[in-house]
Symmetry: C2
DNA sequence: CATCATGCTACGATAAATGTAGCAATGGAA
DNA sequence: TTCCATTGCTACATTTATCGTAGCATGATG
């Protein structure tokens, strides 16, 4: 995959049918994507704070995921610096927020 | 990571804090995991039917994901063959089912 | 027996993620 | 201005995950 994508339709695994849910599941199914959304859930974070929150994940992937999430319209880079959720991103985040409660009951 | 895990605590990225949500986000954030749950949403599928549903993904990963999902208690192998969701798995699946509607509005 | 479908594995090739280091730009303090 | 710290972001070699194809063992059925 190229590292900069512009507006070209990035090849999205399993979504050749054009069904949006597939594209979304694919995007969310990439490493650190869900975690990033989760960590941004209630306040914007700088790239480095986000990295810390994400267990010091490599900046390479984080940057890649942030780019994808920005292109998807879920995340934006505030003009004062710092990454935050867009209204759409916040909506998405709240969509899978019940996972929290579920996970607590699950416990493994 | 070893391919068979027994009962040992599999190293779960980002969940060294022991917070279940992290373990869950990590599990769901692996390739094909969300998709598998999605495809099993309303009926059990044989391993091969599942593979077809998942855009012919390589059996190696699918098998690995199915093992993880079984260990997590979300998926089970019926005695007549075929993979299906456990009650817990169905619950999880319904937790992020609203993503469908969200994705439709999103469209990219 | 022959056939077919099941769950599952081997293994070389390819793609993605990691870990460490560091760059250019910006914004203060000294 | 000079010095430092912080920002977003990138390079690159190593390690890990995933892909793609082939195939095995088992059980059911004709």
């Amino acid at each position: 995959m190229t590292k900069q994508a512009g507006t070209t339709t990035r090849s999205v695994r399993g979504s050749r049918t054009g069904r949006p849910i597939m594209a979304l599941l694919d995007l969310l199914g990439r490493r650190w994507t869900l975690r990033i959304l989760w960590e941004l859930r209630d306040e914007p974070l700088t790239s480095r704070a986000l990295r810390s929150a994400c267990d010091e994940a490599s900046p390479t992937v984080l940057q890649a995921r942030l780019t994808e999430l920005r292109e998807a319209g879920f995340v934006e880079l505030g003009d004062g610096g710092g990454y935050g959720l867009t209204p759409l991103g916040r909506e998405l985040c709240e969509t899978f927020m019940p996972l929290h409660r579920f996970a607590e009951r699950w416990k493994r």
